[in-house]
C-alpha cells in the first residue's frame, strides 16, 4: 500500500519535472545550446509567484500565468543580449554565456531575497483516491503540466510559428533560405524554453519550500530527464519526468533517501554513454 502512495506522489511531481525539462530540451533541440541559466529562471518563477502572492495577494495559479509571460519576455531578452552573438561559436561559449546569465540572476536574487527559505501557502487540502491520499496542490500542478504540454504540442505542430521553429531545428540554413527570420525564431524558442522553466518553478513553489538557490537542483534533474527522454523531444521530456519522479518516489522504500541522487546521476551517465539520443529519442 505504502509503495503505491509513494509512486503516486512521485508521478505527480514527475509531471512538473517534465515541464522543467521540456524547457531545457526545447532550447537544446532547436539551437543546440545547453541553457545553464535554466535553474536561475526556475528560481525566478518561484519568487515570482511568491512576490505576487505575498505583496498583492494574487492567487498562485493566476500568478503562474503572469510568471509565464514574464518568463517568455525574459528569455527573449536573454537570447538577444547573451546568446545571439555566440550562437555559432563552439559549445564552451554558449555554456559559459548562459552560465554568466545564471551568475547575474543568482547574484541579484541573493542580494534581494537572501538565501533563507520561503514558501507559498496554498491550502487545497488533500485528495483521497481509494487507498492513496495526496495533496491537491500536486494534482493541480500535474493537470497544469499536462495542459502546458498539450498547448506546446499544439503550438509546435499546428501553428505557422511552430512550423518555423521546427524548420529552424531541422536545418537553420535551409530555413533561412526559405525566408524564415531565424534570429527571431531562435529568440522565440529561447523565450518558450525559459517560459516553461518559469512555469515549472511557479508550480513547484505551490508545494515545496524554496530558496533563490533551489533552481540548481531542478536544473540538474532536468538534465537527467532530457537525456532520458531524448534531446528536443517535448513528450519525451514529460515521460522522462514521470520516470524520474516515480524513481524518486519508489527508491526511498528500499534504501535511504540519500542514495536517490547517486542512482539518478549514475543512470544519467550510463544513458549518455549507451544511448546519447535518449531512451525515447530518435536514432541519428
Amino acid at each position: 500500500m505504502d509503495i503505491l502512495a509513494f509512486l503516486v506522489d512521485g508521478l505527480l511531481i514527475g509531471f512538473v519535472y517534465g515541464i522543467a525539462a521540456m524547457g531545457l530540451t526545447l532550447i537544446w533541440g532547436v539551437m543546440n545550446v545547453i541553457n545553464l541559466s535554466h535553474g536561475a529562471i526556475i528560481a525566478l518563477g518561484m519568487f515570482g509567484i511568491y512576490l505576487l502572492f505575498s505583496l498583492f495577494g494574487v492567487n498562485p495559479y493566476i500568478g503562474v500565468v503572469l510568471v509565464a509571460l514574464a518568463g517568455l519576455i525574459t528569455g527573449m531578452l536573454i537570447y538577444a543580449i547573451a546568446i545571439h552573438r555566440v550562437i555559432d561559436a563552439p559549445h564552451l561559449s554558449t555554456l559559459l554565456a548562459t552560465f554568466a546569465v545564471n551568475m547575474i540572476i543568482i547574484g541579484l536574487g541573493t542580494s534581494a531575497f537572501s538565501t533563507s527559505p520561503r514558501n507559498v501557502d496554498v491550502a487545497l487540502g488533500s485528495i483521497e483516491m481509494g487507498p492513496v491520499a495526496f495533496p491537491a496542490t500536486r494534482a493541480v500542478a500535474a493537470v497544469a503540466s499536462v495542459l502546458v504540454t498539450g498547448a506546446l504540442y499544439y503550438f509546435l505542430y499546428r501553428t505557422t510559428l511552430g512550423k518555423y521553429i521546427r524548420a529552424v531545428t531541422d536545418n537553420r540554413a535551409a530555413a533561412e533560405l526559405m525566408g524564415i527570420p531565424s534570429a527571431r525564431i531562435l529568440a522565440l524558442s529561447f523565450g518558450l524554453g525559459t517560459m516553461l522553466a518559469a512555469i515549472a518553478g511557479g508550480l513547484i513553489a505551490t508545494f515545496f519550500p524554496f530558496t533563490i538557490l533551489s533552481g540548481a537542483t531542478y536544473e540538474l534533474k532536468s538534465f537527467v530527464i532530457c537525456v532520458l527522454g531524448g534531446v528536443g523531444n517535448p513528450v519525451g521530456a514529460l515521460v522522462g519526468g514521470l520516470i524520474l519522479g516515480s524513481l524518486e518516489g519508489v527508491i526511498p522504500a528500499f534504501m535511504p533517501t540519500s542514495w536517490v541522487p547517486v542512482l539518478e546521476f549514475i543512470l544519467f551517465v550510463v544513458i549518455l554513454l549507451v544511448r546519447p539520443t535518449g531512451l525515447l529519442g530518435r536514432k541519428k
Binding site: W28, V86, I104, I106, F223, V262
Partner: protein, 325 residues
C-alpha cells in the same frame, strides 16, 4: 633533444621567474595575510592550468573537473587519518587516484563530443558527491576531520602553514612547466589538432582516443595532489566543499579570462579572477552583488574577447608572442 631545445623559450622562463618572485614575496615580508591571499591564487593557478591541458588543448569542456580535486583530497585525508600516512605519500596517492579515475572515465566518456561530454562530467561530479555522502569509510555527510596534533610532525601549525605554502608554490611552477612541455611536444600538437578538427586529426594519424585519455589523466593528476594539500591545510573535508560545482565553473572562468590554450592565460586568469573577487568582496558597493559583477565580466569576455586576455594580446601584438607563451 628537441624537448630541451623547446625549453629555450624566453617567455616561459620570464614568467616562471615572475611567478616565483610573487610567490616569494610573502616569505620575504613574513606577512601571513599576504601568504593566504597568494596561496589561494596559486591553488587557482594549479587548478586552472590543469584544466587548460584538457580544455585549452583538446577543446573538451570538463564542467565537473573539481571531482578530481575532491577525490584526491578525500583519498589523502583518509590515508592520513586511518593509516597514519605522512602528507607526502598521501599527496602522491591523492594525485594517482584522481589520475586513475580519469583513466577509467576517459575510456568511457571521452567518446562523447561537445556538450554531451560537458554534461557527463557534471553528472560524474554530482554522482561522486552523492556517493561519498553515503560512503561510511569517508565519514558520510560529516566527512573526515584531522586531529590538530597531526601538524606537530611538521613543526606545529604555524610552521606547517609556511611549509604548505612553499609546496603549493613549487606545484604551481611545476604545473606551468608541465603545461609548456605538453604543449610543445608532439603529443601536444596532436591534442591541438583534435581541438581544431577531431576527425581530420584522426585521419592524419593522431590516435585520438589515446591522446584524449592521456590529456584527461594529466589534467586530473595535479588537482588530486593539491586537493590533499588544500584539505590537509583546511583540517577537514566534507562532500559539499570537496565537490562544489561552482568551483569547477570558476576554473573555467579563469581559463577563459586569461586565454584558453595558452600557458600564461590560466595563470593570469587565476590571478586576475581572485584579485577581482577579493576587491569586490571588500568593497561596500559590490559586496552583495559580487556574483553579478563576475557574471557580467564573464559575459563581456565571452561575447567580445573570446580569446581571453593573453589570446587578445597575442593577436594584437604578434611580435610579443615569444614573451606570451
Amino acid at each position: 633533444m628537441s624537448m630541451l631545445k623547446n625549453l629555450r623559450n624566453p617567455g616561459l622562463w620570464l614568467w616562471m621567474a615572475i611567478v616565483l618572485a610573487v610567490g616569494l614575496w610573502p616569505v620575504i615580508t613574513q606577512r601571513a595575510s599576504t601568504r593566504e591571499e597568494i596561496f589561494t591564487v596559486l591553488l587557482s593557478v594549479v587548478l586552472a592550468s590543469s584544466l587548460n591541458i584538457l580544455l585549452g588543448y583538446t577543446g573538451y569542456v570538463s564542467f565537473g573537473h573539481i571531482v578530481f580535486f575532491g577525490l584526491g583530497g578525500y583519498v589523502g585525508l583518509f590515508l592520513i587519518t586511518a593509516y597514519g600516512w605522512s602528507l607526502w605519500p598521501a599527496m602522491l596517492a591523492g594525485g594517482i587516484s584522481s589520475a586513475f579515475l580519469a583513466l577509467l572515465l576517459g575510456q568511457a566518456i571521452l567518446r562523447l563530443r561537445g556538450a554531451y561530454f560537458a554534461l557527463a562530467t557534471i553528472g560524474i561530479n554530482e554522482a561522486m558527491r552523492a556517493f561519498i555522502n553515503n560512503f561510511e569509510p569517508f565519514g558520510g555527510p560529516t566527512g573526515i576531520s584531522l586531529n590538530f596534533s597531526v601538524y606537530n610532525d611538521y613543526g606545529g601549525a604555524a610552521n606547517a602553514l609556511w611549509m604548505l605554502y612553499g609546496v603549493m608554490l613549487a606545484l604551481a611552477l611545476l604545473n606551468i612547466l608541465l603545461s609548456y612541455v605538453v604543449k610543445s611536444s608532439k603529443f601536444g600538437l596532436g591534442l591541438l589538432a583534435i581541438r581544431e578538427d577531431e576527425d581530420a586529426a584522426e585521419v592524419m594519424g593522431v590516435v585520438t582516443p589515446r591522446a584524449k585519455t592521456w590529456a584527461y589523466v594529466l589534467s586530473a593528476f595535479l588537482p588530486g595532489v593539491v586537493g590533499v594539500l588544500f584539505f590537509f591545510k583546511n583540517g577537514n573535508i566534507e562532500p559539499p566543499q570537496a565537490f562544489r560545482l561552482h568551483m569547477s565553473i570558476e576554473m573555467l572562468v579563469m581559463v577563459m579570462l586569461g586565454g584558453y590554450g595558452t600557458i600564461l592565460g590560466p595563470v593570469l586568469g587565476a590571478a586576475g579572477y581572485q584579485r577581482l573577487r577579493g576587491l569586490l568582496l571588500t568593497s561596500d558597493l559590490f559586496k552583495n552583488i559580487q556574483l553579478t559583477v563576475a557574471g557580467v565580466l564573464l559575459l563581456v569576455i565571452i561575447l567580445f574577447i573570446p580569446a581571453g586576455f593573453v589570446g587578445w594580446l597575442r593577436n594584437r601584438f604578434p611580435k610579443l608572442r615569444r614573451f606570451l607563451p
